[in-house]
């Protein structure tokens, strides 16, 4: 009984502190935050890439998602064995000749497919600079940079 009382007191204090923080600082930030200083060597933050930068965007999500809400002008390269990997290679190779800066994105920050696709693009040996987008499609969507999206306030 004594323990329950102590728990109730702690919970009441925590609730009051959280409410105060909300009142003073506003609601929690639910958008993805990317800190360039903490990126892995092959990653980039979206804020480092101006909207008009000459970038070949490679979408590593399933085809249906790419068609629905990929980046305008992006190409598809996922790891679905039902897809034609050689067609992906050929399409990317042709585009790299004109746009040697490549950024791969997948669903969100926890998706690992973009890194595998980036490896495969590097392995083509076409001399492209290939990066993985931190936060993936989610960060693009929040910035209003995919089909059918608008920037979050």
């Amino acid at each position: 009984m004594k323990v329950l009382g102590q728990l109730a007191v702690i919970a009441a204090f925590a609730l009051a502190a959280a409410g105060g923080t909300w009142w003073i600082k506003g609601p929690p930030l639910r958008t993805l935050a990317c800190d360039p200083a903490s990126l892995k060597a092959d990653e980039v933050c979206l804020q480092q890439i101006p909207a008009d930068a000459g970038v070949l965007w490679v979408d590593a999500r399933p085809r249906g998602e790419w068609l629905r809400n990929g980046v305008e002008g992006s190409v598809l390269w996922n790891l679905d064995p039902a897809e034609d990997m050689q067609a992906f290679e050929a399409e990317v190779a042709v585009r790299i000749v004109d746009t040697p800066r490549v950024i791969v994105y997948c669903g969100d920050e926890s998706c690992g497919v973009s890194r595998q696709v980036a490896e495969r693009i590097r392995a083509l040996g076409l001399g492209a600079e290939v990066s993985v987008l931190f936060g993936g499609w989610r960060s693009l969507s929040e910035a209003g940079r995919v089909r059918g999206s608008s920037p979050n306030p």
Binding site: V3, Q6, L7, R61, P62, N78, L79, D80, P81, A82, E83, D84, M85, Q86, E89, A90, A93, V94, V97, P100, G107, D108, S110, C111, G112, V113, Q116, A123, L124, G125, L126, G127, A128, E129, R138
Partner: protein, 225 residues
Amino acid sequence: MLVAAMSAVVQAAGLDFPQTLKEIHAPVDAKVVTAGFEFTNRTDKPVQVVKYDAACSCMALKIKDSKLRYAPGESGMLRADFEMGNFSGTVDKVVALWLDDDPADKPSVKLTVRVHIPVLVSLEPKTLKWELNGDGGPQTIRITMNHDSPIRVVSVNSSSAAFQHELKTIEDGKLYELIVKPVEIGSPGLGILRIETDCTLARHRLQQAFAVVRKPTPGEAAAKP
């Protein structure tokens, strides 16, 4: 007592997977490979598997006996069947499990199936590069067959007339050389070389290499002496 009560709350969710990475060396002719992930609920509360997903139509997932709720101490098995399609080389496939009240974008568990698929026809290098207005001399791709039975090159086709090519047989069914030369070196260009073999396994039959004439990238230019 209070600390014990709080820590019990922290440990309330979770399944223990002794192995979260399974490596499989697939046989040459395998179409599907299977990985099994065993798990146990080592908490003192029941755990509910809410959802599991591989984000790929190539991966079929099944939990043994379709059981989704696990009492403390209970064990189970998740089976992942990976359909290999036309892959070769190494492929990682990630399986995510959402437990109890996991948020939609933060599954508690991530499992990896790493499949090593034999490369029967290897091209080295896969891409030939010429510098714009540089030396336009011929370069060679070595085509090596890594199989018990011979694999022969049946044809080579280029997507572009800007590159000439010639196939040389070094050892029939084992080793070939593809010699490629740009017709002119004064303008950028890309050629896709499609190499067809008589390999009986469909995913190894057709190979692809690249020939490119381009300006060096800033990194390549900086690396020059």
